[in-house]
């Protein structure tokens, strides 16, 4: 198998350590995932000062949260409002905020999503079962550089007094990409 040959040669040449490769796979399988992003969103919903800091400089704001994995320098948070709905795509490859959302799902990397999100995003949302009011502005962020985007969804009504942990549970991965909405209270428990 070609992958085995690659790994063997790169190991024998002294470039990579197979034990480090094991650790990387394990990290992506267990530690790096959308719950990091969900914790950030829940914090922003709960703490107006944090939300302001997040929207001003997401890299810096996220770095202040000890329980979230470290992100690079180029994270930007974009806020959904009743007037504007944000969607993130990478039409050229598969750029995605891995460090905060984990591995991108296959659909995010697929031709249907990459081709259509910038041209007809409402039909893409329909594929996800999401319908927005006709006058909502749809803002698509094509990740064409090393900047990475995190959508801050609208906090659902009926969640007053919820803890950050409760809130994080209704933040779906797709709601942080813009192809979904948070779970509605009552649907969760």
């Amino acid at each position: 198998m070609r992958v085995r040959a690659l790994e063997t040669v790169l190991t024998e040449k002294g470039y990579v350590d197979p034990a480090a490769l094991d650790a990387i796979v394990e990290a992506y399988e267990t530690r790096i995932g959308p719950r990091n992003g969900a914790a950030v969103v829940a914090k922003a919903w709960s703490d107006p000062a944090f939300k302001q800091a997040l929207l001003a400089d997401a890299s810096k704001a996220v770095a202040t949260l000890g329980h979230v994995s470290r992100v690079g320098d180029h994270l930007v948070a974009v806020e959904n409002t009743p007037k504007t709905h944000n969607i993130v795509v990478c039409t050229l490859c598969s750029c995605y905020p891995w460090d905060i959302l984990g591995l991108p799902p296959t659909w995010y990397k697929s031709a249907p999503y990459r081709s259509r999100a910038v041209k007809d995003p409402r039909s893409v949302l329909a594929d996800f079962g999401v319908t927005l009011p006709k006058d909502t502005e749809i803002r698509v962020w094509d990740s064409t550089a090393e900047t990475r985007f995190l959508v801050l969804p609208i906090r659902p009504a009926g969640t007053d007094g919820w803890s950050e942990r409760q809130l994080a549970e209704i933040v779906t991965r797709n709601s942080m990409i813009g192809t979904g909405l948070p779970k509605q209270p009552g649907a969760t428990r």
Partner: protein, 218 residues
């Protein structure tokens, strides 16, 4: 390059298919390829833009019929060979025939989490920024044969500078070994009708992150 990878606005690919409870990897080898990519990146063997450019150069029929990680594997073989890190014969046989080159550093289990942190793409500015937030700009109508991050659908279009992200290494230079060549980076937003004509969804706005050499004042 005007390749198959530049998919924004193409028709005919059908519905977006989602997979409930998708696992991180569908096959064990996919995880190995991802890990190799991260480890070689940490070692400074090549840049993200070399990986992207290698994938873009895959023949269109190969690009369209290979899975995501298969494309990564093919691009990695290209980069290993082009950067002189192993020979085609070695990759074919799976046996190293000569010692490796010296790379910048090596990822070990002890530093894996630190090694997975994204590196910074900020670079020292070479000149003051030409544009400021709110400026009207037009993207150039360029068709380089090499790597660029200006998608076809957004060339020759009128937009507005919305965010300035500082000065970054320039992918178009990095991918062809011309160095970091730092450039200012802006989020430029376009009206849907500017991109797709009068029949576009009137509520649509699309932004790209555009390096300064892609832009002229408008």
């Amino acid at each position: 390059m005007d390749g198959i990878h530049d998919m924004g606005g193409m028709d005919g690919f059908g519905k977006v298919e989602t997979e409930p409870n998708e696992p991180p990897f569908h096959e064990i080898w996919e995880g190995r390829i991802l890990a190799l990519q991260r480890a070689m990146g940490y070692a400074g063997a090549w840049h993200n833009d070399h990986s992207r450019f290698a994938r873009e150069r895959l023949p269109p029929q190969v690009y369209m019929t290979s899975s995501y990680y298969k494309k990564w594997m093919l691009a990695m073989e290209t980069n290993v060979i082009e950067h002189g890190l192993a020979s085609p014969e070695e990759l074919k046989t799976g046996l190293a025939l000569a010692p490796g080159k010296t790379l910048k550093r090596k990822l070990t289990p002890a530093v894996v989490m630190e090694g997975l942190k994204r590196s910074s793409f900020f670079r020292q500015q070479q000149a003051p920024a030409k544009f400021k937030i709110g400026d009207r700009v037009r993207t150039l109508n360029i068709h380089p044969k090499t790597h660029t991050r200006l998608p076809r659908y957004a060339r020759g279009k009128l937009g507005r500078v919305e965010i300035c992200h500082g000065c970054h290494m320039f992918p178009d230079s990095v991918a062809i070994n011309l160095g970091d060549n730092p450039q200012w980076l802006y989020t430029v937003v376009f009206d849907g009708r500017e991109l797709w004509g009068p029949d576009s969804d009137p509520t649509l706005k699309v932004s790209i992150d555009a390096f300064e050499p892609y832009l002229e004042p408008a």
